[in-house]
Symmetry: C2
Subunit: 220 residues, 2 copies
DNA sequence: GACCGAATTAACCCGTTGGTTCATTATTGC
DNA sequence: GCAATAATGAACCAACGGGTTAATTCGGTC
């Protein structure tokens, strides 16, 4: 069994160095994308040197991929903490939308990494292992909600969990990803606390409404 | 008065050269972003030379900005062609969503330029003149629809045209911008013709529903 | 047909930056 | 304590790529 990293040495501490590099690299890649990010800049903000970056991660692309992978796992783990088990389907759906909206806002670096990755046509994400299985879990949650909603006669029969997820993601993601251009085009009134509360509420409301069989009855 | 460019010369033709560079540059910048795009690559795909790119546009960033500006104007002009004047408010809104959804799909290069620009925090867009006034027009359309909808008692009183626009944009934009990562995470079933038709329909339906005062009455 | 400025070409420059070399120090297993 | 190995530091390198220099051609004008 390994000793805890902290006790191994007061000077050499590979895991900590690795984690330190990853932490800095994530911030930098999120800030300036893959090609504009300089390894020298990353190294400078690290407790260690440029030499070590290559020593631990091989090359720039591998470092970027490690960052992407770690960020993905971390964010997905955060999502798993949401508990909707004992809520009525419409309330569960609403809570899921609100949580997703907030969760995206809380993780702008992750959003930016995904933006960068989309510019690259997902070419680095392609190599990440166990991606599909991680994401199936996200859909499972919605499937259960939809199932319960249909069973109780509240939701439409032809509702698609994947399409629902797509819409929830679209609004939550866009809210963070396109803030810059949206603000330049239309002002920043939607991005103060009041504006964000409005968008969050409208997003939740429209998603729940669209899932209901008889939208007039409930009061979402 | 200028002679038509075509007749001026068989060899020298500045306007055409300029337009040629812009055309190629737009495709390249959209494909690989600002920093990964090589001026040499642009030049190679042009009828002219690298030197000419700098001759006409000064430097790389100015070229990128010219591309962004032209693409923006072009896309906004395309939007202006939509005519919703003599439709009932709910039908007008539905048609607007469907049009926006299709319009984004038809202009993936523009979407990618906006993605790139958001990665850059909109720093190049900031210098584009007459941006605000161009975009106010987009909101005006929605404002008129909302106004008519409220007047006829079909729409909610507290509806926000800007928040509505935000949601329409979110779905239309995300559908193109995040296709790569969404596909890797959840498969491509939403991106064939059938899947896209579903998303388009659900987007329109949920937007219209959310605008209605009494969602149960109409059949959106 | 000489002249001018705009348009064009080929060759070059040089700072930036991802990645390396080589030597040195710390740690671990025996 | 002693090899073997892992971790680190300083200086270095080569190519990539944005931008330039300087010399040339073209088209219109008087």
């Amino acid at each position: 069994m390994d000793k805890p990293a902290k006790l191994r040495s007061w000077k050499q501490n590979p895991e900590a160095v690795r984690a330190d590099i990853l932490r800095v690299a994530r911030a930098e890649f999120a800030r300036t994308g893959l090609s504009r990010t300089r390894i020298d800049d990353i190294a400078a903000k690290t407790k260690t040197s440029k030499r070590m970056v290559f020593y631990y991660f091989g090359d720039k692309e591998s470092l970027y991929q490690a960052v992407l992978e770690e960020a993905y796992a971390e964010v997905r783990a955060g999502e798993a903490e949401l508990d909707l088990e004992d809520l009525a389907p419409d309330h569960a759906l609403r809570k899921l939308v609100e949580f997703t909206f907030d969760h995206h806002r809380r993780n702008p670096d992750f959003i930016r990494l995904v933006m960068v990755e989309n510019i690259h046509d997902g070419s680095h994400m392609r190599n990440i292992e166990r991606l599909a299985e991680q994401n199936v879990a996200a859909i499972r949650v919605l499937e259960r909600i939809c199932e319960a909603g249909r069973a109780s006669g509240v939701f439409r029969e032809d509702i698609s969990p994947l399409a629902l997820h797509w819409r929830i993601s679209a609004m939550s993601f866009f809210n963070v990803s396109n803030r810059a251009t949206f603000t330049l085009n239309f002002g920043d009134s939607l991005f103060d606390e009041e504006g964000q509360a409005l968008l969050r509420e409208e997003a939740a409301r429209s998603i729940v409404l669209s899932a209901l069989k008889n939208p007039g009855c409930a009061t979402p």
